[in-house]
Subunit: 195 residues, 2 copies
């Protein structure tokens, strides 16, 4: 019965599994054996379909970035207040803090930190992903300004970059073990800059 | 002539070399062969002196943290304006951006991102280092408030955490390739929150 199933179905599932693995422990710490196990593929299928561990990793980054962007644009479209959407995004980042579950952080930020210095293709994929996230934040800020929720800043570019940097720093500190109750007041300071 | 040279001399030099290696490429990507080469030690000397790659890494983190803290406290003591010291610190972080040299970032932030999720001893060492840096920033903020350079905030803890998070986010974005001219206006937004 599975003979007619399109190859793409398996590729998507395999990509999800590989993303989960890379995201959980990073690129270097992921072995070929790990990938074959979670993707349920033979070595030859993996190489035939994705080329190499590095090429697979780049595909995972693209896949992750696309789902994140889609999810956020839907949230923004549904939100009555774009400023509240931004505030809520920061709260979601901090919500990971202090839980007993593994704090995976953001796959893009993790990859930037682990590899972007050494691998130009990863750097490019992270830059594309980061640019997509920035576009979502920019749209939220533009809507907030249009609705009078915040004053037009001297430079919208700087405000968007500031927000991206604040998110990245928050994620690192969540992973480093800073407590949620210490991070929540910081969110208010971050939002104060974009009033 | 070298017979009387204390063993500690070699340990310090070896520790510096190992720190440079771990800092440049990370923990996982550093092989035992790399360590033996840069530290100029035999395998047995390395294990006898430092115990394991992981124990050596923890020692390197402690060594780095101590030198950073000493350097910053000296800078703060020499600075006429504690607020300018903080501003200057952010400018130094951004100064790495866009240069052709490898952007090593901060050894503590890199280690937090690579390992603190998987290794509780690394997490502890990063937390200690991060706490030491926070203490330096706190002292600068306290002096800035005492000198009337900034208003006393509702929560000094939150301001210090905010600054640490901003520094961490800046470092990640420098490594991800954000340009210096884009980061400089962000510094002004960060400093605005602590006016």
């Amino acid at each position: 019965m599975n003979q007619g199933r399109p190859r793409e179905f398996d590729i998507d599932r395999a990509l999800e599994a590989a993303t989960g693995q890379f995201w959980a422990v990073g690129y270097e710490a992921t072995s070929l054996t790990d990938l074959l196990r979670v993707m349920k593929l033979s070595k030859s299928s993996l190489y035939q379909t994705f080329g190499s561990k590095q090429a697979l990793f780049i595909k995972c980054l693209g896949h992750y970035q696309q789902s994140m962007t889609d999810k956020l644009l839907q949230q923004l479209a549904r939100s009555a207040s774009p400023k509240e959407f931004l505030h809520h995004f920061l709260q979601e980042v901090v919500a990971e803090a202090g839980g007993r579950a593994t704090k995976k952080g953001c796959f893009l930020v993790n990859s930037a930190n682990e590899l972007s210095q050494r691998d130009s293709e990863v750097r490019q994929a992270v830059a594309t992903g980061s640019a997509q996230m920035s576009k979502v934040f920019r749209r939220a800020f533009e809507q907030a300004i249009a609705l009078g929720e915040m004053a037009a800043p001297a430079s919208l570019d700087a405000v968007v970059d500031y927000f991206v940097i604040a998110v990245s720093g928050l994620r690192t500190m969540v992973k480093a073990g800073m407590r949620k109750e210490d991070l929540l007041p910081v969110i208010e300071l971050i939002m104060r800059t974009v009033e």
